[in-house]
């Protein structure tokens, strides 16, 4: 126990300040720092924390490693109010990787059907965006949008963690109702 406490104290808090992620809408002047803004945005738009179900629909596992990295203390996305959950039934958003393999097509569709509104979908990585190096074939359906509707994409092979976060926030912000009172609950 003593070793653990000492290591925790010695390590300190390594979480980095969120870099500026461009927003599609103008911000009120008193918006605070980037992390707070993101946190507030999620609350304003969804009225709750954002829960994500990750679905590997055929990737090489590279994108999964970067999504894992998003959970490390440097990025600390749980601190922003974003949490990965175990079931699509608990999720606001699906984070889908890979070219969709023919064998995962039905599983992906059923996962999408099981997800409640707002049912946001982010396609992660070159393969999820376009089919990537694997393309379309007897065994691959290609990009995620060929199987389920996609709200945001993030290219890269694999995209680094902050790019994935950017796409997650893009999808959330796109969901903001056009007529909604900015800053108020949607």
């Amino acid at each position: 126990m003593w070793h653990i406490l000492r290591q925790i104290v010695r390590t300190g808090i390594v979480t980095e300040p969120m870099p500026y992620l461009p927003l599609p809408l103008p911000l009120p002047d008193n918006a605070g720092d980037a992390a707070q803004r993101i946190h507030q945005d999620i609350l304003d738009i969804l009225g709750q924390a954002l829960t994500i179900r990750q679905v590997d629909a055929g990737s090489c596992n590279g994108c999964e490693l970067e999504i894992h990295a998003l959970n490390n203390p440097y990025y600390n996305i749980e601190g922003l109010g974003i949490k990965f959950v175990a079931s699509p039934r608990h999720a606001d958003m699906l984070l889908v990787t890979g070219p969709v393999s023919r064998h995962m097509e039905e599983a992906l569709r059923r996962t999408f059907d099981a997800t409640p509104e707002p049912k946001l979908v982010v396609a992660v990585g070159d393969c999820g965006c376009t089919g990537g190096i694997f393309g379309e074939s007897y065994a691959s359906c290609g990009k995620v949008a060929n199987v389920i509707p996609v709200d945001a994409t993030v290219p890269g092979c694999p995209p680094p963690p902050l790019e994935i976060l950017r796409a997650i926030l893009d999808a959330v912000r796109k969901h903001r109702p056009v007529t909604g009172h900015p800053g108020g609950p949607a």
């Binding site: 090489c60 490693l65 023919r102 190096i133 694997f134 007897y138 065994a139």
Partner: protein, 471 residues
């Protein structure tokens, strides 16, 4: 094991098998006149051949005679082509949409109180897809049966559509966590097929990357294993170290996983002297931290209670089933290509193996710790002694059918690439083999008698590849 249909005029159909023996690697070929005739079943001698043979039926339409398990393995009944995808004219038809996979005939376990738990293909964590069928009584696992193939995306057919000098990118995406190892194995195969001599400097940089890949994955797994035993402190600490590691990989090699840094004939980029100093200093820093964390893991009673005796594979069982790589070394299978069949430049470093005979989760954790320290030593030595010279040579096609093999000790175990290039300079066949093929069936045995909640921990302690297996 893999099947090949050679290009015309021979159009020969060949069954191939690679055997790792004391002297090296033996690549055997059996030409068969009529693919309906089949080939001798290797499963009675080598249990790990069962799934490979089932995969060969699915992909190449070649069947082992008298094989007791005739169920499809990689094919879920959704590919609409009439011919096997790796045969000429096969797999060219786009898949039908909307069709459902065929039912898979799992082995039923019957008895009082026995019930089944079906898991997957979409798993609860951020991991690759596959299906696990547990037969349990109470909380105890009587039997686990795996059903894989969900991430089969036609990689081996895709290889035949790429130019040999470009296909290292595809090899580097067979399994994203082993991108360096597969890219190296592919390049090694092409370089031996086309008789290319890779400069020493490039080999040393490749070895540096391979060891960095090993450390990155071991750090990630050590954290995840702590987390699976409810010590989230371990995940936080190790994932922090892994992030530091990947960030420097990006600075030094242009990519957080070093994808596409290994190219046919050499490497894509050089590492400057100041950067080599930073790489060495990072090894020192990580070594200090991992020593502290190892002490914490070793002294944590709750953690050791979960690790010790859990998911045990005895050395006898491991030998019989052909357990390989890291998991094999944790069960008394003292093989490591870097020691037994050392290749340039590892033959200059006298790599120390990390053997253990206990075969449980604790043993697989211990091997990872030992291998991290050895890899850090190797990286420091590689950075210190990096020879001068070219970074790459231009490979020239030989205008005749040529074959080459690549064999590399990846972090998970040995990866193997068999490459055949035709006289026209196109890839006839590229077969990629991940050690997960041997180790997945052993995981089924490791779980027997354990409780269901220990499965994630046992599974993570093996950390096998889905994509590298399904292709």
């Amino acid at each position: 094991m893999w099947g090949v249909e050679r290009q015309p005029p021979s159009s020969e159909i060949v069954v191939c098998a690679a055997f790792a023996v004391r002297e090296g690697l033996v690549w055997l070929e059996l030409p068969i006149d009529d693919s309906a005739a089949g080939f001798p079943d290797l499963a009675p001698l080598f249990p790990c051949a069962v799934r490979m043979q089932r995969g060969m039926v699915d992909l190449s339409g070649l069947r082992a005679e008298g094989s007791h398990d005739q169920r499809p393995w990689l094919d879920h009944g959704l590919w609409s082509s009439a011919r096997a995808p790796l045969r000429s004219g096969g797999g060219s038809v786009p898949a039908d949409s909307g069709a459902l996979p065929t039912d898979y005939a799992f082995v039923r376990v019957e008895g009082d109180g026995v019930h089944e738990i079906a898991v997957g293909p979409v798993h609860a964590g951020i991991i690759e897809p596959g299906h696990f069928r547990f037969s349990v009584v109470g909380e105890k696992v009587l039997r686990l049966e795996q059903h894989l193939g969900y991430v089969h995306k036609g990689i081996e057919r895709r290889f035949t559509e790429l130019a040999p000098l470009d296909a290292h990118r595809l090899a580097g995406r067979v399994s994203g966590d082993s991108t360096v190892a597969f890219a190296w194995a592919y390049c090694m195969a092409l370089e031996s097929a086309w008789r290319g001599e890779v400069p020493q400097r490039a080999l040393w940089l490749r070895a540096t990357m391979l060891e960095r890949e090993r450390v990155a994955n071991h750090l990630g797994d050590l954290g995840a294993l702590g987390n699976d035993a409810a010590l989230s402190f371990g995940l936080a600490q190790f994932s922090r170290l892994r992030e530091d590691w990947q960030r420097l990989s990006r600075e030094a090699f242009g990519h957080r996983f070093m994808m596409d840094a290994i190219v046919p004939g050499g490497v894509a980029l050089d590492v400057s002297v100041p950067m080599r100093d930073r790489l060495r200093q990072q090894c020192d820093a990580i070594e200090r931290e991992v020593h502290v964390l190892r002490t914490i893991y070793d002294e944590h009673a709750g953690l050791q209670d979960r690790f010790l005796t859990t998911g045990r594979v005895t050395p006898e069982l491991a030998a019989r089933l052909g357990l390989t790589g890291l998991a094999g070394r944790a069960s008394g299978q003292a093989f490591d290509l870097r020691c037994d069949h050392s290749w340039d430049p590892f033959d200059q470093f006298n790599v120390a193996m990390a053997p253990n005979r206990n075969g449980d989760v604790a043993a697989r954790v211990s091997v990872r710790f030992d291998e991290v320290f050895e890899s850090l030593r190797l990286i420091r030595a590689l950075c210190s002694g990096l020879p001068q010279g070219e970074l790459r040579v231009d490979l020239q096609p030989v205008h005749a059918p040529s074959i080459g093999a690549g064999w590399v000790e990846a972090w998970r175990g040995e990866v193997f690439v068999a490459l055949e290039v035709g006289a026209d300079g196109r890839i006839t066949r590229c077969h990629c083999h991940d050690p997960s093929w041997q180790n997945w069936p052993v995981l089924e045995h490791a779980v027997i008698g354990n409780i269901v909640p220990d499965f994630p921990l046992i599974n993570k302690s093996f950390n096998l590849s889905y994509s590298g297996h399904d292709l």
